[in-house]
C-alpha cells in the first residue's frame, strides 16, 4: 500500500514516542567539538614541528650542503614531511567537514596556513625554540636521537655551528 504524507509524520512521531529514536545529549556534541579542536591544533603543531625539523636538518649541513646531497638524503627525516602533509590534510579535512570555512576562499585559507606553518617552523628552528622538543613532549625521545645524529642533543650541548669567529658551541643545559 503506498504511503502518504500523513503516515510519514505519524511514523516519525511513533518512533520518538516509543523511545526507538533518542536525542543525543548536549555533551556528545560538546565532546565532539572539543575533539575536533584538539585534532586541528595537534595537526598544526605536528606540521610546524615537522617544518622546524626539516629546516634544522637542512641548515646543519652547512654552506657546502648542496655538494653533499647524498648525505642529506641519507640522513633526512622523511617521516617529517609525510607527517606535515598528513597533519595538514587532516586539519583541512576536519575544517571542511565540520566548519563553515566554505564561506571563505578555501584555496586562500590553505595558502595562508601553509605560509604560516613554514614561517613558524623556520622561526622556531632559528630562534632555538625547538630545544623544548628536546626536553619535553611526545617527540622528546626522537628529537634526542635525531639531535645526537646531527650533532645536537641534551648530551651534546645546544646549538653548534660555524661562525665568523670559528666553531662555536654551547655548554650542556
Amino acid at each position: 500500500m503506498p504511503r502518504n504524507e500523513v503516515d510519514l509524520t505519524r511514523e516519525v512521531m511513533e518512533k520518538i514516542r516509543a523511545g526507538e529514536v533518542k536525542m543525543r545529549s548536549r555533551w556528545y556534541f560538546v565532546g565532539g567539538s572539543a575533539a575536533m579542536l584538539v585534532g586541528v591544533i595537534a595537526a598544526l603543531v605536528l606540521a610546524v614541528f615537522a617544518v622546524s625539523l626539516i629546516s634544522f636538518s637542512l641548515r646543519t649541513h652547512g654552506p657546502m650542503g648542496s655538494f653533499r646531497l647524498q648525505q642529506i638524503l641519507a640522513s633526512f627525516p622523511w617521516w617529517a614531511p609525510i607527517l606535515a602533509i598528513v597533519g595538514l590534510g587532516l586539519g583541512i579535512w576536519l575544517l571542511r567537514r565540520y566548519d563553515f570555512s566554505y564561506k571563505r576562499n578555501f584555496s586562500y585559507l590553505v595558502a595562508v596556513a601553509l605560509v604560516a606553518i613554514i614561517l613558524a617552523g623556520v622561526a622556531i628552528d632559528y630562534l632555538g625554540l625547538d630545544d623544548i622538543w628536546l626536553k619535553r613532549g611526545p617527540m622528546r625521545q626522537y628529537m634526542q636521537q635525531f639531535g645526537a645524529g646531527m650533532g645536537r642533543g641534551n648530551n651534546m650541548g645546544g646549538r653548534n655551528g660555524m661562525g665568523p669567529g670559528g666553531v662555536s658551541g654551547t655548554t650542556p643545559r
Partner: protein, 181 residues
Amino acid sequence: MEKHATATDEELVNQVRSGDKEIYAELVRRYEPKLLRYASSLLNDREIAMDAVQDTFIKAYVNLNGFNSKRRFSSWIYRILHNEAMNLLKKHHREVKFPEGFDAADPNHFEVELSRKETIKMVHKCLDKIPIKYAEPVALFYLEDKSYEEISDILRIPAGTVGVRINRAKKAMRMTCQEMK
C-alpha cells in the same frame, strides 16, 4: 498545535530540546512537503524519496542538540537531506553526465535568456538529465525558492560557485531539452 503556528522553527527546536517531544511533530509537518518535493526531484522515485525524508527527520531529531539555533533550521535540515540523497544516489549508482559536445564555459551556447516561469518549467522537465552536482542548486533555487546564501549553507559551497553551477545547469538543460523536442 495552533499555538505553535506563529513560533519560528528555531523557537520550536528549543522547546523540543527542553523536553517537549510532541512539538517536533509541528516541525515535521512544516518541512515534510518541501523536503519530499526536493527529494523527489533529486531521486526520481517517490517511495525512495519518502524513505530519505523519514530518515532525515529521524537524524535531525537524534542530532537536535547539535543544531546551533543562531543559524537557520531550514538550511540545517536541507543539509541532512542532501547527505541522505547523496548516499542513496551512490547506492543506486545514479550518475548523469553533461550532454555530448556540451561546453559549459562556452558563452555562445544558447544566448537566449528564459523568464523565471519558463526556467521553472524547464527544470521540472529536464532536471534529471543533468549531473546531480548541478541539479541540486537549480532545484533549491527554482523549486524551493532558496537564496544563494541559503544554498551555499546547504551545499557547503561558496555563494559564487552556486551562481556558476546554476548558470551551467541552465545551459545544459536548454541543450538537453531542445534535443528532446
